[in-house]
């Protein structure tokens, strides 16, 4: 089965062999209702105008495309950041939640539910729900509730109810299971706002289309600054894969542009838990879609890990699996410590505190500059800001205060005022 055209899935939601709708029959009516709504409501000019206006006036789009002078100089290439961290609520997640919340309202449903790992999607859903007057419930793994307490408080301030998932691995995948169960029971009044390009069709396409604004803007902004040129590569971190799909989508037809996705390799020792579904997973069916997964030979889903909670998921969007299978996009993985190194480098070199998720994408470029053309242009999607990760970073530093300062100061020595230019 091949998609109808490059990036449009088949009617049943397949990108090549990946995708589909593997949900209980009880969920097929709302899934089909959503498919129709996506075709009729989201595609309408009225919806698009309203969506664009909210993104402009409320979210703060377009987000900046920033050329990083200091890192560029050190790497010998032009290093750009697409600043999704500057959006309202501090991450790319808001693009999708505004789209889905607006759609929920237009479908006549008063309630929206969501799952969240790092908390960013939960905060973004709670924000969109508050702004559009919807009741909001957010499911979050119990471990993530502890790791991201600050975001839990934000969601509650915004009027959402946060429900901890106490089952299974107590992380994102279990929050998704709980949300799916809620959706089965409350489908008549409720829309399930999935936070990434995962789940049954039409979610991977719907979420990608709401996030496609990232790549469209980046392409236009880059062209405006370089007399119509295209970058040599665009790079984004991949958990479920929504910021990456949003960044990649406009560039997929531009075959001169390398699309590079960076997954989380966890601590990196043999047998460790990680979140590299594309680099190390195998095809299987999980949470509504056929994609690449971390699983045992018997087909049980394995726990994942990343220092970045937003990447901590054992599956990935099916369109990424397809882009990998067709060779259009490349996927690599990066260890926790290298992501933390990138975190510190961006803080010290450019005055930007990145999310640990985005630090994976930054880190891959820092560590692999020699695999990119000298003097070339690379745009990294800075999917979110790092305020939410202060607790994790402090915990890491408390365990080993010297480790990370050595890493970031050795290769990218932080120059004080006397040494600096």
């Amino acid at each position: 089965m091949t998609p109808k055209k490059d990036t449009t899935p088949t009617d049943s939601g397949y990108y090549g062999e990946f995708g589909g709708r593997f949900v209980p029959e009880l969920l097929m009516p709302p899934v089909l209702e959503l498919t129709r709504a996506a075709q009729e409501i989201v595609a309408s000019k009225e919806f698009q105008d309203e969506f664009t206006a909210i993104l402009r006036d409320y979210v703060g789009r377009p987000s900046a495309l920033y050329h990083c002078p200091n890192i560029s100089r050190e790497l010998g290439l032009e290093f750009w950041l697409k600043r999704e961290d500057l959006n309202h609520t501090g991450a790319h997640k808001i693009n999708n939640t505004i789209g889905q919340a607006l759609l929920t309202k237009k479908m006549g449903k008063p309630r929206i539910i969501a799952e969240t790992g790092a908390g960013q999607h939960g905060v973004a859903t709670a924000t969109a729900a508050a702004m559009l007057g919807l009741e909001c419930v957010v499911y979050m793994g119990e471990i993530d509730v502890e790791r991201q307490a600050h975001n839990v408080r934000r969601m509650e301030l915004l009027g959402a109810t946060v429900v901890p998932a106490k089952n299974g691995t107590k992380t994102l995948k279990d929050a998704v299971n709980l949300a799916l169960k809620d959706w089965i029971a409350n489908q008549r009044t409720t829309h399930y706002c999935i936070g990434s390009v995962i789940g049954p069709h039409p979610f991977p396409e719907l979420v990608r289309d709401f996030q496609a604004v990232i790549g469209l803007e980046a392409k236009e902004q880059f062209a405006a600054r370089t007399m119509g040129r295209l970058p040599d590569a665009v790079v984004a971190c991949v958990g479920g894969g929504s910021n990456a799909m949003g960044m990649f989508h406009a560039f997929v037809p531009e075959t001169s542009v390398r699309l590079i996705g960076v997954e989380a390799a966890g601590t990196g020792e043999p047998g460790c838990y990680h979140s590299s579904s594309l680099s190390q997973g195998t095809p299987g069916v999980f949470q509504g879609t056929l994609t690449k997964l971390l699983q045992t030979e018997q087909g049980q889903i394995e726990p994942s890990h990343s220092v970045a909670p937003g990447l901590d998921y054992p599956g990935v969007g099916p369109e990424h699996a397809w882009l990998q299978a067709t060779g259009r996009a490349e996927y690599y993985c990066l260890k926790d410590d290298r992501a933390l190194n990138a975190f510190f480098v961006l803080c010290r070199k450019e005055g930007i505190i990145p999310a640990l998720e985005s630090s994976h994408a930054v880190g891959w470029v820092l560590d692999n500059a020699d695999r990119l053309p000298k003097g070339g242009n690379v745009i990294v999607c800075l999917s979110g800001r790092g305020d939410k990760d202060m607790g994790i970073v402090e915990e890491v530093l408390a365990k080993d205060p010297s480790a990370y300062s050595d890493i970031y100061s050795a290769k990218y020595a932080v120059k004080g005022p006397k040494e600096g230019k």
Binding site: L26, M28, A185, V285, E297
Partner: protein
């Protein structure tokens, strides 16, 4: 050759009662007692036995079964173990055997190999909650080539059009989910079950089984002839976990 699932349900009907379909996940309450319970339920007169294939993320199941299944996985439950155990007992069980599990473990085993091994082990059919009509085509054909039925699951929100799709080539029986929710014993079932069961009854020529939320024979009896069989899951799992025997729990349903 007719379906053994259909035959067993019709035999119960001829005896003037609803067919009884108990569910137990493999390795519950432990790996050894599981088989004792299966043999006990068979001897007590269960018509069809639904063996649960444990999966780490059972999205259609409520807390009782989810917890039981996670414990089963910790005990090492896997599809091969089920098929080996059934193969050993082939010809010794009167009840027809249907496996209930999610897509991924079957897929990793390999659908074609699974169909052959399951048929050889005496399995009559399969219930797969996350395999709706749109995804089932090729798999259904592979199963059917080995004489296995793929039991359709329908529910309160299944439209007449979709009922017709499922009914077109349904075999074994059709499973009617009595609630808009996950598995788990409930004190009462929604009133709209009557109306929707009537629609399903008209759509299907195969027998209809009612499941999700059933814990007493009285609950099932309320639906009269609208249901030919009743599936009992969470209530048995709770009962066996507390040390009771599954056969004993079933006795009132088999009167």
């Amino acid at each position: 050759m007719g379906s053994l699932l259909t035959t067993r349900i019709e035999e119960a009907k001829a005896k003037g009662r609803k067919a009884v379909i108990p569910y137990l996940p493999f390795c519950h309450p432990d790996c050894e007692r599981f088989w004792t319970e299966i043999e006990g339920m068979d001897a007590a007169g269960a018509d069809v036995i639904e063996v649960g294939v444990p999966f780490s993320d059972p999205v259609a199941d409520g807390p009782v079964i989810e917890e039981a299944v996670n414990e089963c996985l910790e005990r090492g439950a896997c599809l091969k173990g089920i098929l080996d155990g059934l193969a050993e007992r082939k010809g010794k069980l009167h009840a027809a055997i249907v496996l209930m599990g999610y897509v991924n473990p079957f897929m990793q085993y390999g659908w074609e190999k699974f169909a052959a091994d399951a048929a050889a082990a005496g399995v009559s059919g399969l219930i797969v909650p996350d395999l709706p009509y749109e995804e089932a085509g090729e798999i259904k054909a592979l199963l059917r080539a080995q004489g296995l039925d793929l039991v359709p699951l329908v529910g309160l929100n299944t439209s007449a059009d979709r009922l017709a799709l499922y009914a077109e080539d349904a075999s074994g029986f059709a499973y009617f989910v009595s609630v808009l929710g996950t598995t788990g014993a409930r004190d009462s079932l929604p009133e709209e079950v009557f109306e929707k069961l009537t629609l399903a009854r008209k759509a299907f020529t195969v027998p209809l089984a009612l499941g999700f939320g059933i814990k007493t024979p009285e609950q099932a009896a309320r639906f009269g002839d609208l249901a030919d069989a009743v599936v009992i899951g969470s209530a048995i799992v709770s009962h066996t976990k507390a040390g009771g025997s599954a056969a004993q729990f079933l006795a009132p349903f088999l009167k």
